[in-house]
C-alpha cells in the first residue's frame, strides 16, 4: 500500500507525507515488537494491585490478568457480612477500572499449567498466553485431606466460609437460622493461614450478633494452635463485651479437630473427644493456591519460597509469587501484605525489563480486627528484606495498646472501615 508508484513523480508534498508516516511508523513498530508481555494469575489483593501498578510504572508493558471470577469477593469485611452487619454486595469488586482505565486485558479463565521453559501459561478454556514475566497470586488452597471426613462436599454442611461468596452466604444463613441456646463451633487452623486474626474476629462478631438476637447462644473455638494473633487484646475484649459467651480450647487442651462427622453435626478432637454443635465452621489447614502447586512453585511446606527483595520464585526464574501463596518471612498472610508485595514485585519487574538495578524494598502490613462494630484493634508492622528474609523493623509496629479506652477502640473501628474503603478504591476503582 505504501509502495511508491513505479513511474510516478514524487511530489514534494507526497515525499513529506511519506517521511512523516515512516517516522511515526518505525518506532511504533519497534515498540510493538519489543513490548514485554506480563501475565498476572489471580485478581485478588495481590494480583489486581500488581496488574495496575505494572501499567502505571511502565505503560509500555502489555499486561494480562487471568481471574476466573467476574466479581471478586473480599475476605476483609466478610465477618461483618456473616454477622448480618453489612450486605454481602459490599464485598464485591469489579475489574472494569483495571480494563478501561489501565488497559489491563482481563481474561476470565483459570490458569491450569505453566510451561517455564517456553514461558507460556495454559488456561482451562484452551487459550495459551506467552509471557516475559509472570506474576502468580493465586491465594490459598484448602488442605482437604488434613481433617478426616472433611471434603468439598462436606463443606456444604460445615462451611469453611474462608473464600468465595457462596461459602460465606451458606454460613451466614446457618448462623441466622441457629436457635437461641445453640452452639456455634469454629475450628481454627494451624499457622500459617490466610488472615491470622480472622477466626477470632469471626467469633467476636458472631457474639455481637447473638447478644442481640440469641443471648443464650454459645461460641466454641477449637484451635489447632496454642497462641494466636492479638490474643491478649481479643481475650480482654471478649471478657468485657461478651462475658462467657466465647470459649476457646487451645491445642494443649485438646483443641485440634482431626475428624468431622457431618451426619451427627459433631467434630472429634485429637484425643477422641466429640463436640456437638448446631453450626460448625471448619477453617481447614491451608497451602498455596492450586496453580502454584501444579507449576512446582511450592516447597515441602506447601508455600512458595521467593527472593525477599523481588518476590521472584526461588524455583522458577521470571516468575514472581506474591500474596498468601508466598513464603514472605515474618509478614502475615493478608490483603494488606499482598498489596504491598505486589507493588514491590511490579517495580522489580519494571526495573528488570528496563535494565535498571533492583530497588531496595520496604513492606507494610496492617491487620484491623473488629470485636464489635465500635471496637477495633490492629496489628501493624514495617518490614525490610534482610539476610534472614523479610523481617519487621525493630522498635516499630506492633499491636494496639492493651490499655486503651473506649474512644481509642472506636477510633480503630472507624479506621478499619476506612482502610477497607481506601485499599479497595486503590486497587479496583482508581
Amino acid at each position: 500500500m505504501n509502495s511508491l508508484p513505479r513511474t510516478g513523480r514524487l511530489t514534494r508534498r507526497r515525499a513529506m507525507a511519506l517521511a512523516a508516516t515512516a517516522a511515526l511508523a518505525a518506532p511504533a513498530l519497534a515498540r510493538a515488537q519489543a513490548k514485554a508481555q506480563i501475565v498476572v494469575i489471580g485478581g485478588g489483593f495481590g494480583g489486581a494491585t500488581a496488574a495496575k501498578y505494572l501499567r502505571v510504572l511502565d505503560p509500555g508493558l502489555a499486561v494480562t490478568l487471568v481471574e476466573p471470577d467476574r466479581t471478586y469477593t473480599t475476605g476483609p469485611l466478610s465477618n461483618l457480612v456473616l454477622a448480618g452487619l453489612h450486605p454481602a454486595a459490599d464485598l464485591a469488586q469489579s475489574y472494569a477500572t483495571l480494563g478501561m482505565r489501565h488497559g489491563v486485558e482481563v481474561v476470565h479463565d483459570t490458569a491450569v499449567a505453566i510451561d517455564a521453559a517456553a514461558r507460556k501459561v495454559r488456561l482451562a478454556g484452551g487459550r495459551t498466553l506467552d509471557y516475559d514475566r509472570l506474576v502468580v497470586s493465586p491465594g490459598i488452597d484448602m488442605r482437604w485431606d488434613a481433617i478426616g471426613g472433611y471434603s468439598e462436599a462436606v463443606a456444604q454442611i460445615m462451611p469453611h466460609a474462608w473464600t468465595g461468596a457462596a461459602q460465606l452466604d451458606l454460613l451466614r444463613r446457618q448462623l441466622q437460622a441457629m436457635p437461641d441456646g445453640g452452639v456455634f463451633l469454629i475450628s481454627a487452623p494451624p499457622t500459617p493461614y490466610r488472615c491470622p486474626p480472622g477466626p477470632y474476629e469471626r467469633a467476636s462478631l458472631a457474639a455481637y450478633a447473638f447478644k442481640q438476637a440469641k443471648p443464650r447462644a454459645k461460641i466454641v473455638i477449637m484451635d489447632a494452635k496454642d497462641q494466636f494473633s492479638d490474643q491478649g487484646l481479643f481475650e480482654d475484649g471478649w471478657k468485657a463485651l461478651y462475658g462467657g459467651m466465647i470459649e476457646r480450647i487451645g491445642l494443649s487442651d485438646d483443641g485440634r479437630v482431626t475428624e468431622v462427622r457431618p451426619d451427627e453435626m459433631t467434630v472429634v478432637s485429637e484425643f477422641g473427644e466429640a463436640h456437638k454443635a448446631d453450626v460448625i465452621n471448619i477453617i481447614p489447614p491451608q497451602r498455596a493456591g492450586k496453580i502454584a502447586q501444579a507449576a512446582g512453585l511450592t516447597d515441602d511446606s506447601g508455600w512458595c519460597p521467593v527472593d525477599p527483595r523481588t518476590f521472584e520464585s526461588a524455583h522458577i526464574p521470571n516468575v514472581h509469587v506474591i500474596g498468601d501463596a508466598a513464603l514472605a518471612g515474618a509478614m502475615p498472610k493478608g490483603a494488606f501484605a499482598a498489596n504491598t508485595q505486589a507493588k514491590v514485585a511490579a517495580l522489580a519487574i519494571a526495573d528488570a525489563l528496563a535494565g535498571r538495578p533492583p530497588a531496595t524494598p520496604t513492606y507494610l502490613s496492617s491487620c484491623y480486627s473488629l470485636l464489635a462494630p465500635d471496637y477495633g484493634i490492629s496489628v501493624i508492622d514495617v518490614f525490610r528484606a534482610t539476610s534472614e528474609g523479610i523481617s519487621p523493623v525493630a522498635g516499630a509496629g506492633g499491636q494496639s495498646p492493651r490499655q486503651a479506652d473506649a474512644a481509642f477502640r472506636a477510633e480503630e473501628a472507624r479506621y478499619a472501615s476506612g482502610w477497607y474503603a481506601s485499599i479497595t478504591e486503590e486497587i479496583w476503582r482508581s
Binding site: L347, A394, A396, A404, F408, S422
Partner: protein, 109 residues
C-alpha cells in the same frame, strides 16, 4: 488532614505517658534507604490512591511536603497522638520520611 484526628485528650495523656516509658531510638530503620518510588506508594493502602481517602481515614491529598514530613516526625517521636501512625512512622528513617512526603505532596507551583 492529620490535624483532624478526633482523639480525646484523655487518650493523649495516656499516649504521652506510654511514650515516656517506651522511649525508643528515633531511627530504628534499616541502614539502606528504601526506594523512593515504593515509599511514595506506601500510603495509598490506607490513605487512598494519591492520598485521596474515600472513607474515614484522613486524606493526604493537597498537603504540603513540609506538613507531611513534620507530621510523620511528630508521630515517630510520640509527640502527636495517633492510633497507628506512631507505630508506622517508627519504621522509617529521616531520609525515608522526606521521600514519603515528597512522593505524596502535590508539587508546589
Amino acid at each position: 488532614m492529620f490535624g483532624h484526628l478526633p482523639l480525646k485528650l484523655s487518650i493523649c495523656g495516656k499516649m504521652l505517658m506510654l511514650a515516656a516509658i517506651a522511649a525508643l531510638p528515633a531511627s530504628a530503620a534499616a541502614a539502606q534507604s528504601a526506594d523512593p518510588r515504593l515509599l511514595a506508594l506506601s500510603c495509598a493502602g490506607c490513605h487512598g490512591p494519591e492520598g485521596r481517602s474515600p472513607g474515614t481515614i484522613p486524606s493526604l491529598h493537597g498537603q504540603s511536603e513540609t506538613a507531611i514530613a513534620e507530621a510523620l516526625r511528630a508521630f515517630r517521636a510520640d509527640q502527636r497522638p495517633s492510633t497507628v501512625m506512631g507505630r508506622i512512622a517508627k519504621g522509617y528513617s529521616d531520609q525515608e520520611i522526606d521521600a514519603v512526603a515528597h512522593g505524596m505532596a502535590v508539587p508546589s507551583k
